[in-house]
């Protein structure tokens, strides 16, 4: 486990999401990266049926194929938990208290590349049952290092080579601001969650009918 950075890749005007992804994958392959399977990160959102401590609680359960036996559970504006994926079954047991939000499951999936010390994942974002691409996420892991500040330079460089503006998440920013801040298992899921939330937000803001792709609004402060 090294430092990982997840960013949103902007869509191109009048081009399909798939086009942008293929273009990006080409660039990565040209650098000599090797395909190493597929990946998927998904998030299910639950909502409390009654207010708890005076507010309706929203819980996001994130699953990452990189940690197939785990569930990362985030209470919105609250604590988070790393647990066995049997936690999902506990939520099924609590279905009178917490119901999954309808058509809210969001997922990023795509190809996983290995490039020496880097792990690169290109994922297309889909929501609910709709298969159209709602956004593109790029994850870059720099595996030999667990300190944010020390690996940021080399990650920026790789992004630069790929021709992507390093538009990092607020979470990542907060990590960079702290000196000597090291990686935690939940960091990757946190960044995905932040980006998922902004994709969802852009969907509701634009009121786009499903099927049309739009570029996601860049990082709205959350968490």
């Amino acid at each position: 486990m090294g430092v990982n950075c997840v960013i949103s890749v902007p869509m191109e005007e009048n081009k399909s999401g798939q086009y942008v992804i293929t273009k990006l994958q080409k660039k990565i392959e040209n650098l000599g990266a090797k395909k190493a399977g597929h990946f998927s990160v998904d998030c299910e959102t639950y909502q409390s049926q009654i207010p708890i401590e005076g507010q309706v609680k929203v819980i996001n359960n994130v699953h990452d194929t990189e940690y197939p036996a785990s569930t990362f559970s985030f209470v919105e504006n609250g604590p988070h938990l790393v647990a066995d994926n049997t936690l999902d079954m506990l939520f099924a047991k609590m279905d009178s208290f917490y119901a999954p939000k309808k058509n809210f499951k969001i997922e990023a999936k795509g190809v996983r590349y290995e490039l020496n010390d880097f792990l690169i994942k290109v994922g297309s974002v889909i929501i609910g049952q709709n298969t159209s691409v709602k956004g593109i996420l790029l994850q870059i892991d720099y595996t030999p290092c667990i300190l944010y500040n020390d690996s940021w330079g080399i990650i920026t460089e790789l992004l630069h080579i790929l021709g992507i503006n390093p538009n990092i998440t607020n979470f990542f920013k907060s990590r960079l601001e702290k000196k000597e801040s090291s990686v935690d298992y939940t960091d990757c899921a946190q960044q995905y969650l932040e980006l998922f939330n902004s994709v969802r937000k852009s969907m509701t803001v634009n009121q786009q009918p499903p099927g049309m792709s739009s570029s996601p609004v860049m990082i709205q402060g959350r968490m």
Partner: protein
């Protein structure tokens, strides 16, 4: 085979006795065969001692009934009948083979002495005779003395065993009466405690008095106590949410 004719009644009696004997022996044989079959055919792990011993018990009781039947006064005294082989044949006798389930093929000179023997072999008989002769020559006084001392020894051993048994039984009684190694009441109490918090959720009440409701204090457990005013609010909200009971997520699966 020949049987002396002693009038119709006795003959019928003999016939029924033999029929019964044959039937009993057949039953016994079936049982033994069954047991042997199980031993040979079934995997060893499916055999268990209790059922094995049961089988033995059945066989031994069948042998018992058979012996009792032979000794019974009403049964015809087989002892008083003779069995005389009229002809011996070195060739294979199919009929005999069928009768004996393939165990005896021929009725010849070699087999007959073994099968129809009613007395011990001559050498054995001779040894028996010498022993009897020797016994007769021993002095009566010596015999009596030896018998007395043997009886004495046996008596002592019997006493010893009896004594040990009493002690053993007393021991068992004592153990069951006094040394109870568990208390059912404790079991129930412990289970009720770990499963429902019986007797240990009392400190909840205590801490509710001593700890004022807190907003947040990470890393301690005190803020887990339900705040009474909060609980009240919870109840009120209930009325509202019950109306929503028909929403699809609420349906029991």
């Amino acid at each position: 085979m020949a049987a002396p004719a002693h009038g119709g009644k006795e003959e019928r009696q003999l016939q029924t006795s033999i029929d019964i004997l044959v039937q009993r022996v057949a039953e016994l044989r079936n049982k033994i065969e069954g047991l042997i079959l199980r031993l040979e055919r079934e995997p060893p792990e499916s055999l268990n001692w209790p059922s094995f011993l049961d089988n033995f018990a059945i066989i031994s009781s069948q042998i018992n009934t058979l012996t009792r039947f032979i000794k019974n006064e009403k049964t015809i005294q087989l002892k008083s009948y003779e069995l005389l082989p009229l002809s011996l044949n070195p060739n294979i006798d199919e009929n005999l083979r069928k009768l004996t389930n393939g165990r005896v093929h021929t009725f010849n000179h070699e087999l007959v002495p073994d099968y129809l023997r009613t007395k011990p072999e001559p050498e054995v008989e001779e040894r028996g005779n010498t022993l009897t002769a020797k016994a007769i020559t021993i002095n009566t006084d010596v015999v009596n003395k030896q018998m007395a001392s043997l009886n004495n020894a046996v008596h002592k051993i019997a006493e010893l065993i009896e004594h040990e048994r009493e002690r053993f039984e007393a021991d068992i009684n004592q153990r069951t009466q006094t040394a109870q190694s568990y208390r059912q009441k404790d079991t129930e109490e412990l289970v009720a405690s770990i499963m429902y918090g019986k007797g240990i959720s009392a400190n909840r009440a205590v801490s509710q008095v001593t700890q004022p409701p807190q907003v947040s204090q990470p890393q301690t457990m005190q803020n887990q106590i339900p705040n009474p005013s909060n609980a009240h609010m919870y109840q009120q909200k209930a009325i509202k949410t019950n109306i929503r009971g028909s929403n699809p997520y609420n349906r029991p699966q």
